[in-house]
Each structure stands twice: as C-alpha cells, then as structure tokens.
C-alpha cells in the first residue's frame, strides 16, 4: 500500500486537509505512540487504497523537539509528500519545502489559506512557482473545501523536484530568490482583528485583556455547564426514573442483583447521588453530572484554539511560568489538561527538554483538575456553598505554584526559553469547530462511560466482600487523623485511581462537612493519577520518572490534605 504523508509547518491547516481527503466515513485512529501522536486514514490513489498520514508540524527536517523527530522519521517511510504551505507566509514555509524536495521524494505543494492572501495584498504567481520548484502547486481553502478536488486530481502529477544538492545556508538564499520572483505584495490597512490581536499580546493592553478573557471563559463554561446539568437532571428524572422504579420492583427492591443494577434505595427511593447502582449512579454521573461540563468546556476550548487565543495567553504567562521551570508554551498543555489530563500530558511533548516535560507532566497530574473532577466538585461541594468550591481550586493553584517552584529548584538545570510564532486571530469555521467538538464529546462518552460503570461495579463488589471495611481499618490513622475524614472515605481513594468523578461522587453518602469535602476533593485531585493519566505518564516519562512523579504526588497530596484539615479544624469547620 502506498503511503502519503501530509507535511508542513505547524498551524498551516494540515489536519483540516487531512479530514477533507479521508472523508468522514474513514476510520482515523489516533496513535499515542511512544513519541508523538499522528493520525492516519485512507484515500484512493491511482485506483488503489492508499494510507495517508497527518504528520505533526515541523519547521525543518532537522528536528528540534520530540514532536518534530517523529515528522522526520515518518519521512523515511513515505512514498509521496503533500507539502502544505501557508500561502500568507510563503518564504518561511518554503524552507521546509526545500528540505522535502531535496530528499528526492514525490512531492506536490499545496498553498493553503489562499483566500487570506487576497485580503492581505499578497499575489503569488503559481505557474512561476511550479517552474522554480519543479513540482506541481495547487491552491486550497481547506475549511471550505475549495481546491481539494483539484489536489486529488493532480496528486498523480506529484514529481521528484530539485536538481542540484544544496547546502544548508544556500537554502535560505534559494528560498529568498524564489519568493522574490513569484510573490508581489501590495499595501493594505490593518483590520480590526489584527489590531485586537496585537493588543492582546502586548503587555500593557494584553494583561488586562487576558485577565478579563480568562474570567469570562470560566464564567461561560460554568454557565453553560450548569444550564446543561439542569437539562440532564430533568431528563433523568422524567424519563429514566420511571424505568428504574419499574426495574426495582421487578427485581424485588433489594438483593445483590438489584443493588448492583439499580443500587440501594434511599428512603425507598432511587437517589442518583447515593444509590450507586450501575444503571442509576453509574449512568447519572457521566451523563448528567459530567457530560454537561465536558460539552461546555470543549465548546469553549475549540473556539479558543481556533481563534488563536492560546498562544497569546502563553506569551502573557511566560514570565510566571519561568518561576516554575517552564516557559509559556507549557500553559497550553495545562489548559488542555483542564479538560482531561491525558491530552494535556501528550501536549507536553512540544517542550524541548526532558526536565521540562517531567515538571510539566507532574504539575499537570497533581494540580490541574480535569473537567470530570471539576464538574463533580462544583455539583457536590457546591451544595455547601461557593466558597468551598473556590477553596478547592485556590488550593490547587497555590500548590501548583509552590510545587513548581520547588521542582524547578530541585531538578537543577535551566529552563528553556519561549520561541513561538503567534498566528493571527481568525474567525473559526463553524463546520470545523463542530467536527472537533463532536469528536471530543464522542471520545468522552466512549472512553469514560465504560470506566465509570466499571468503577461503580468494583465499588459494589468491594463493599459486599467487606474489603472496603478492612482497608478502612488499616488506613484509619491516615484517613481520620491526618485528613480528618471518616474511615469509609478510603473507598473513594481506591476508586479515584479508576475515575475521579466516581470518586468524588462516593463522598456524597458520607455526609461530610464543607471543610471535609474540600480536604477530600483536594486529596482526590492530587494524590494519584487516574488510570488513563497513569498510563500516559508511564509512556511519556518512563517507569523511573513516573514513580518519582507518583511519589511526589502522594507526599504532596497528604501533606496538603493534612494542612487543610488543621486549618479547617482551627476555624471550626472540620470533622
């Protein structure tokens, strides 16, 4: 099978073209391989099925980060390269084109973002460019699909370009020559978006804009989330509860099977928070409590990603991030981690050194609560009052700073510096936005729901076998003395390894005080990664560093939990 590689600089629209070429009905699987994720799909080429790979973005074929290494390794296994070029930045992009052409591989060049060149007063002579590069050139506007058909038709024309070998310093000269021959620029005025883009990255205007933006972002996420929770709860109450009641009656209102499926009846009724049956709490937690916030978060995150806010945010927080041994770019990983820690930790691959990746992944796993945990904390702890919810998140943020500061000091070595391009603000394409959103929500449903069900099942089994009671006795000193929680909270800590949302949910039947809920939520967020995060930490850091990271988690979680307990006890809110 022929293998087609989609290559190009970061942020030129490779993935959009990828999804256009492979179509919607094609299986595109994600490969969180040992190095970096790349996506593969299939398309028809010369009447045969060909594999097409979305290679991570790279500036040159001499790798500077782990993500770029993969791109270069992929190159050796490809038969044909579709080189995606940002038409609005021809010169910088052609540098990679030169590198690719010099590898003597079948190449076709795509000038993407063609529509933007017109607004920007850029005129490129395609015929001339084809002549100079010696390979076919097509123009596209990926999000609308313009030019994709031509790309598919002309794919067979892909050629091995380039005649003579070039040395590295000659390549930039060559690129300069090509650009001066086929590109003409005309003067134009700055648009509002450009002016706003500038304002939001310069310190004087950017910092206030950034603070307002972050405030609004979380306000909106919470607003939409709460709204959807009401809808979800309403649906469960009106549609699912009658089914559950019927089922409960059929099963005789008690017994092992009844308790596993429907759960224990609380005062003769089904309580989605406390019954803990597979079909009651097991479905309610992921679908009615967490899903609303997943929907809300990924809707907003998708917009922020596509608009171009995140790199600007990275610049604004760069100075702060240096205090914890990272640079601004790591903030993007932290942002993603707020949705789910797994993609957040994957995103740390973009960082240059092992030291940075360790610090970033550890801080993320300890102090960045995922949306599943956040949703449950808002739902459960929120019942006691907003100040308790705030206490949880403020604690995590303070720990993030203190821990980061210590890790930075302890690990030796210097932190790397930020260097990144800041894409212009763009108005997102609705279709692309919805597609990404749909994929993320689907992924949550397919990966989280089974794990939640498994968690609820395990809880039931452990309880009925008396294992929870047994462990509760063993760990009683830690749980009761240090954390000030009832013994039964051990069950929540056990399940926290599987899913944090179920773990928080298990605090509900314990009738904790507001202070105790804060301690338990903070410890649950910090003490150990959930199984998905654990696996990705292992893959990314290797066993030795992962164990180191886990040790830091356990120590910091129980110290912070203990300190919080003392504080709450001191002000008379403890258990």
């Amino acid at each position: 099978m022929k293998r087609i590689l989609l290559m190009g600089n970061p942020n030129v629209g490779k993935s959009v073209i990828f999804s256009r070429l492979t179509g919607v009905n094609v299986v595109t699987s994600n490969y969180p391989g040992t190095t970096v994720e790349f996506t593969r799909g299939h398309m028809t080429f010369k009447g045969e099925r060909a594999e097409i790979i979305d290679v991570p973005g790279t500036y040159t074929l001499e790798p500077t980060s782990k993500a770029e290494e993969v791109a270069c390794d992929m190159m050796k296994e490809g038969d044909l390269v579709i080189d995606i070029v940002d038409a609005t930045n021809l010169e910088r992009n052609l540098r990679l084109t030169m590198d690719i052409i010099d590898k003597k591989i079948l190449t076709i060049v795509v000038l993407n973002m063609w529509d933007e060149t017109k607004h920007m007063g850029i005129d490129i002579d395609i015929k001339k460019l084809e002549e100079l590069l010696g390979v076919p050139v097509v123009t596209t506007v990926a999000p609308t699909g313009e030019g994709i058909k031509e790309l598919v038709i002309r794919l067979v024309e892909a050629k091995v370009g380039g005649i003579e070998e070039r040395k590295e310093h000659e390549r930039w000269d060559e690129v300069g020559r090509i650009v001066s021959e086929c590109q003409r620029l005309s003067h134009r005025h700055h648009t509002f978006l450009e002016k706003f883009g500038d304002a939001s990255v310069k310190p004087l205007t950017g910092i206030p804009i950034g603070i307002i933006a972050i405030y609004l972002i979380f306000k909106i996420i919470r607003f939409i989330g709460e709204l959807l929770v009401v809808v979800g709860e309403g649906l469960f109450d009106s549609i699912w509860t009658p089914v559950m009641i019927l089922m409960s009656e059929v099963l005789g209102s008690s017994g092992f099977i009844h308790d596993i499926l429907v759960g224990k009846l609380i005062e003769g009724e089904i309580d989605y928070g406390q019954s803990f049956g597979l079909l009651s709490t097991g479905l309610f937690v992921p679908l009615a409590a967490v899903l609303p916030y997943i929907i809300s978060f990924y809707l907003i995150l998708g917009i922020l990603e596509d608009v171009g806010f995140l790199p600007r945010f990275a610049v604004l927080v760069d100075t702060i991030m240096h205090r914890v041994g990272l640079h601004g770019f790591a903030s993007i990983a932290m942002f993603l981690g707020l949705g789910c820690n797994v993609p957040g930790i994957l995103a740390t691959r973009i960082l240059e050194t092992r030291r940075e990746r360790f610090i970033a992944a550890t801080l993320l796993a300890i102090c960045v609560p995922c949306m599943a945990l956040t949703a449950m904390v808002i739902g459960l702890v929120g019942e006691k009052g907003g100040q308790y919810v705030a206490a949880v998140f403020i604690t995590l943020f303070v720990v993030w700073i203190i821990l980061g500061f210590f890790l930075n000091r302890m690990m030796g070595g210097e932190s790397m510096e930020l260097y990144m391009e800041i894409p212009p603000y763009r108005i997102p394409y609705f279709g692309a936005l919805m597609k990404k959103f749909g994929m993320r929500v689907r992924q949550f449903i397919t990966s989280a729901v089974p794990l939640v069900l498994l968690g609820v099942l395990i809880v039931n089994i452990l309880y009925s076998l008396g294992i929870i009671e047994f462990l509760g006795k063993i760990f009683a000193p830690l749980i009761t003395r240090v954390l000030g929680l009832p013994r039964e909270a051990i069950s929540s800590l056990i399940i926290g390894f599987l899913r944090k949302d179920v773990a928080v949910g298990m605090l509900d039947p314990l009738n904790l005080t507001g202070g105790q809920l804060v301690v338990a939520s903070v410890v649950l967020a910090m003490y150990f990664p959930c199984v998905g995060t654990f696996a990705i930490l292992f893959k990314e850091l290797g066993i030795k560093d992962m164990l180191k990271s886990v040790l830091i988690m356990l120590i910091s979680a129980f110290s912070v939990g203990g300190i919080l307990n003392v504080i709450f006890y001191g002000v008379g809110l403890g258990g």
């Binding site: 040159t60 930039w172 500038d198 990255v201 610049v315 760069d318 510096e417 930020l418």
Partner: protein, 77 residues
C-alpha cells in the same frame, strides 16, 4: 549594532548576526529570522519577559535570553 533586547519598541532593523550555537541559530531561522531580514520590534514584556517582533506577515515571541543573542542594524543609526 544592537541586540533585540536593546532595541526600542516600534523600531525596525536588519538582522546582522547571531551569537550562539548551531541549534540556537536553527531555532530562530526556522521562525524566519534570517540574516538580512528586516524586522520590527513590537513590544517587550516586563521582568525580562518575552519579546514580540514581526517578520513579513508573522508575529513571533521569543525569550529575553534569546533576544540578547540576535543583533541588528537599526534603521537610521
């Protein structure tokens, strides 16, 4: 000749040389900061924070330490 950190916001200049290893030079060149290029310094963040500049149609942010290793001939000097 001044380095990027010494340049004033809004000033334009031509890249003259880099002071640093092969890896560093490749990093900045990959972003389009090449000898002979005209760039505009847009802003600098306080406390030795990142510096913003524009090359062609691109905006780039680079760390303070890196900025000190890129030298320019500033227009009109």
């Amino acid at each position: 000749m001044v380095d990027l950190a010494q340049m004033k916001n809004g000033q334009q200049g031509i890249v003259v040389r880099f002071q640093g290893g092969h890896g560093f030079i490749r990093h900045v060149q990959a972003l389009g900061i090449i000898e002979g290029k005209r760039i505009t310094k847009l802003a600098s963040h306080p406390l030795k924070g990142p510096i913003l500049l524009s090359v062609d149609n691109l905006q780039i942010a680079i760390g303070f330490g890196m900025a000190k290793k890129i030298f320019f001939n500033v227009d009109g000097q």
